[in-house]
Symmetry: C2
Amino acid sequence: MNLNKLELINFRNYDKQIINFSTNINLFYGGNSSGKTNIIEAIYYISTVKSFRCSEDIFLLKNDCDFFQISADITYENNINKKYCIEYNKINNKKNLKIDEKKIYRFNELIGKIPLVLFSPEHILLIKNEPQLRRKYIDNILINTDIEYYNLYNKFIKIVYQRNSILKLIKENKLNKKNIEVLNIQLKDLSIKIIEHRKKIIDNLNKIINLKLVEDDRKIELKYCIKKFDKINNDNLEIYFQDFFEKYIENEIVRCATLIGPHRDDIEIYLNDKLLKYYGSEGQQRLSCIILKLAEGLYIKEKLNVYPIVLLDDFTSELDETNKIFISKIFGNFKQIIITTTSKENIKNIRVDKCFFVENGRINDNEQDK
Amino acid sequence: MNLNKLELINFRNYDKQIINFSTNINLFYGGNSSGKTNIIEAIYYISTVKSFRCSEDIFLLKNDCDFFQISADITYENNINKKYCIEYNKINNKKNLKIDEKKIYRFNELIGKIPLVLFSPEHILLIKNEPQLRRKYIDNILINTDIEYYNLYNKFIKIVYQRNSILKLIKENKLNKKNIEVLNIQLKDLSIKIIEHRKKIIDNLNKIINLKLVEDDRKIELKYCIKKFDKINNDNLEIYFQDFFEKYIENEIVRCATLIGPHRDDIEIYLNDKLLKYYGSEGQQRLSCIILKLAEGLYIKEKLNVYPIVLLDDFTSELDETNKIFISKIFGNFKQIIITTTSKENIKNIRVDKCFFVENGRINDNEQDK
């Protein structure tokens, strides 16, 4: 898949901007606040109908403008062209989506049409932070590549929600413990299926990382951790869940919360058999995080048979030359890549196919200049 | 204040290392995972008796070692020398502290003895994240420079805790609403005092930032935001608190939580009158965050009449040349500064007094080599 052209109107610090991309490695360079990340954000927005930097569309508007528009020309592997366009209007706080000039009323028709992987500096929290972001990393890949998981996951979320409401009613003496038994069975069955899916993709990602991406003596490994409440030495999840419900139901009633299930699990990340979160240096954490993101890209490629666009916002920061080159070698696994950096010097040892100089919301396409 | 010498034994990736610092700008440079941040961490540890990267001391041990030791030689403004030494032992999971070879049994005797300010890459969350970190930024400066605030704050935390317990007992019908009235008055009085202290230091920081640190057309401004629950247009906090308790007591009882007070407030950060969190670029957020940290340093200097050590871990990442030079000009306000970076090229336009090349847990003092 290839993003040929991106057009922005009133988006962030851009008035009106047309960008023609190379099918390979594109570099956007320029000073702080020139507008580099805004390009990445616009591509992410047209793929997912949201920003990764803020939750409200109004912040994406250029000063005092009433609307913004993002359009993208895409060519797929089978040579079919598609034109996507999203417009946001401040006055009615609404978005309009068009595919090939035709108005589309359901946004989820766009989801999955422009697959991409994004690394932005704050993704380092994937390593540093609490389990939530790591679960999201795994779930997002699964949701975008496996419709069965998508349905399973939505069902699971609904059951947890229902179960918590029942726990609350039991606490208030409006229901008795018998009423939760059916939900317990559903929760257990769905949990086990979700855990199986997650373990399978983790196996896949481990293989992609250590057989395809990392060829030196580094070993990066993801491990699925089921949150266990006691030392019952039992790997049979069926029995573990059953025991859990019996033992902890009072605790769950007091807290009106479902304390067991994949919404509480973690994915631990190891570098050379040491927990990266505690033992890794800033550079190791950053490098590993970029590798996880690139592994996500290769997984999408294998599953959907489409090369996702790779967006790397300021990936060179905090990396030394050896590691920059290490990452750039992995680029060979992909087609279209879009990177940003403050200065061309930061990527002097990395091959780039097209350079764009960004200054104050204006983009100068170096290739055309020459 | 000046850190003359730091000695490490079995700390992170260091076996045994002695570092003699310059009284001005010290640079540690070297590849990823060479051990640069470990030096910053060791200095932070001897000042605060904890790490800023992990919560458990055991992670700070070099592979399979049973103990680590950090020693620091400090000279104060009045030419008095002090030697501090902390040893952690894995076997009994205990720390020993010595000042001038004399064993000290209360760790808080060390607090404030080695004032410092630290910027590390994850401090960017101060700008990006929820209010908690911004409150902590302000409270930490106050706690370390104002004993009155320290006492006030501890008292406040205790009252909130007590009040939440009483709310719980009211919910369980073990007490009635009358029982909370005394605590309401205490909470109100303490809250107002804390808010006044915070507003005053925010005024001070704004002056330091915009009169002393930022001399160009940028304007960085902190604003204190009291979390209000309705649009009662009343700036009289006495009355606002009273109205709140009357109106929201049922809500507080249901949630067993004190919903008003400085533990819920925020400090908004503006760049040129726009909210930095939503409108700022990555570079602007990072730059502003470093400036906030340096303002903290100048405030400490004004209050305690001691130059704090300035620790900047990888501050050049994501900054363009103009902004790097901008920050380095601010360095003139301080004495001892310790910075790290992956390559000397990143700071080619910044004056450095002593360079240390770091490789695999070994430090090569360039000045001695020449």
